[in-house]
């Protein structure tokens, strides 16, 4: 096996200088600190994204994106196609786990202050990827054309319609008309399988290039300890040491995915009816629960603004501040922690958890 690997590498090296890739990988190192567990989350999110691409391609073999056929085609996959239930359930579970690990990755990077100079663009490209991941979740949710998805899309696109200036245009662009109809389904299908994957691939390439180029960030507390001579910084080769550990995590994730899909197959619900009332207990996917609950609490009017508009404005401003944190947290320097921004992160996590829990009551 080792000989075959060496022979293949030599063959490629003669033609493309592939040995330099191996050399590059061997020189790349990962800092070994007590925070190392958090360093696996980016790779885990990427692994789950690959699972999404593979299971998504399999679902495409049967899925039909029209209001008359979408629900029935997913039902066909779930009940008639061999292992269709498994493929669809893995796709749904993996989507949710991917969003969960993306959340964890984002917050771990935030609290370890890995966004500080020179990694500002790594943070921004990561945040854009995070928004794309949420876009995948939102667009994919509608595709089975069930009642919950129909109303979630109605509410979500209506919120987009409240954006000042471009709201009306954005609403028609997203829905393919004034209402959520078959045109919306076709558009969301296009976003889900073409537009978002294209953007995600481009951003992922930029993100990974930056991670490779700049290396992995050392947390400020460790940096300070090293500077004060209290400890020395140990490193682990990325290839093969860190990658092999990564792969153990991915293998475990596969087991978890298979287990979840087998024990809790993803439900399909009832077919969407544009002329039925929104069912009681309706709520969006867990990652949008905090926005949903906030909108529930807001009164009809806040000062001179409609409550819904004020809420959306608040979330938009919050998102911009969050993305721009590397440029706002200017006092973060060598080994220094800035308490205001750590406090902001704790507040955001607390807000998301509390409001989501209230929505689930």
């Amino acid at each position: 096996m080792a000989t075959l690997y060496r022979k293949t590498l030599n063959w490629m090296d003669e033609r493309f200088g592939a040995g330099s890739v191996e050399e590059f990988l061997r020189h790349k190192t990962v800092p070994v600190t007590r925070h190392i567990l958090w360093y696996y989350l980016g790779g885990m999110t990427l692994f789950l994204f690959i699972i999404q691409v593979l299971t998504g391609i399999l679902l495409l073999l049967y899925y039909r994106p029209t209001p008359n056929d979408a629900f029935e085609s997913v039902q066909f996959v779930m009940t008639q196609v061999r292992f269709g239930w498994l493929i669809r359930s893995v796709h749904s579970w993996s989507a949710n786990l991917m969003i969960f690990t993306a959340f964890l990755h984002m917050f771990s990077v935030y609290f370890l202050k890995a966004y500080r100079k020179p990694r500002e663009l790594t943070w921004i490209s990561g945040m854009l990827l995070f928004f794309i991941v949420l876009g995948f979740g939102f667009s994919g949710y509608l595709l089975p054309w069930n009642t919950l998805a129909f109303f979630a899309t109605k509410v979500g696109t209506e919120m987009a319609g409240s954006v000042p200036g471009i709201g009306k245009w954005l609403l028609v662009f997203l829905r393919g008309g004034q209402e959520v109809t078959g045109a919306t389904l076709t558009r969301f299908f296009g976003f889900h399988i073409a537009v978002l994957p294209g953007l995600a691939t481009l951003l992922l390439a930029i993100h990974l290039f930056l991670v490779q180029k700049l290396g992995m960030s050392v947390p400020p507390s460790v940096e300070r300890a090293v500077a004060e001579g209290r400890t020395s910084l140990r490193n682990m080769p990325f290839f093969p040491n860190f990658l092999l550990r990564d792969m153990i995590g991915w293998y475990a994730a596969l087991g978890v995915l298979g287990g979840l899909a087998a024990i809790f197959p993803w439900e399909l619900g009832t077919k969407a009816d544009a002329f039925a009332a929104a069912p009681a207990g309706i709520r969006p996917e867990w990652y949008f629960l905090f926005t949903f609950q906030t909108l529930k609490y807001l009164p009809a009017r806040i000062l001179f603004l409609e409550g819904e508009f004020a809420g959306i404005l608040g979330f938009s401003v919050g998102a911009v501040v969050w993305v721009m944190v590397p440029f706002l947290d200017r006092r973060i320097g060598f080994g220094r922690l800035t308490r205001v921004f750590t406090g902001l992160g704790v507040f955001v996590i607390g807000y998301i958890i509390v409001l989501s829990a209230l929505a689930l009551r």
């Binding site: 109303f151 209506e158 045109a183 039925a276 929104a278 909108l295 009809a300 409550g307 819904e308």
Partner: protein
Amino acid sequence: MNLLLGSGVAASIISFIYPALRYIIPPPVAESASNFVAAAKVGELKNNNGKIFRFGSEPALLVRLADGSYRAFSAVCTHLSCTVQYRSDLREIWCACHNGLYNLEGRNVSGPPPRPLARYEVHIQGDDVVVTRAA
């Protein structure tokens, strides 16, 4: 020369982008011109009950009050456009999405809805309960 060349390139790029931008916005679809619809048969709805029906391209709500009279409203919540329903236990109109409540005049009385529901006129014509949009 540079200005001329630059303007030419910019104009050509705009001429490529403009059709694409126009393309992604769909043409307006003519709405149903009908200002009335038979929403239900007389006797179909029990007292203190409601029914969603199709009025043009939008859902609408017909309510039969406890005294047997009818009222009709747009069923599109003024908050975020979910479809509302009649709650016979509350004797009010309720939106399940964000817990908005309207009274039987269509006025928003609780929760996030910012405006009342549009109200329609109801007439009995033969066997039909006919709902009419105010002119």
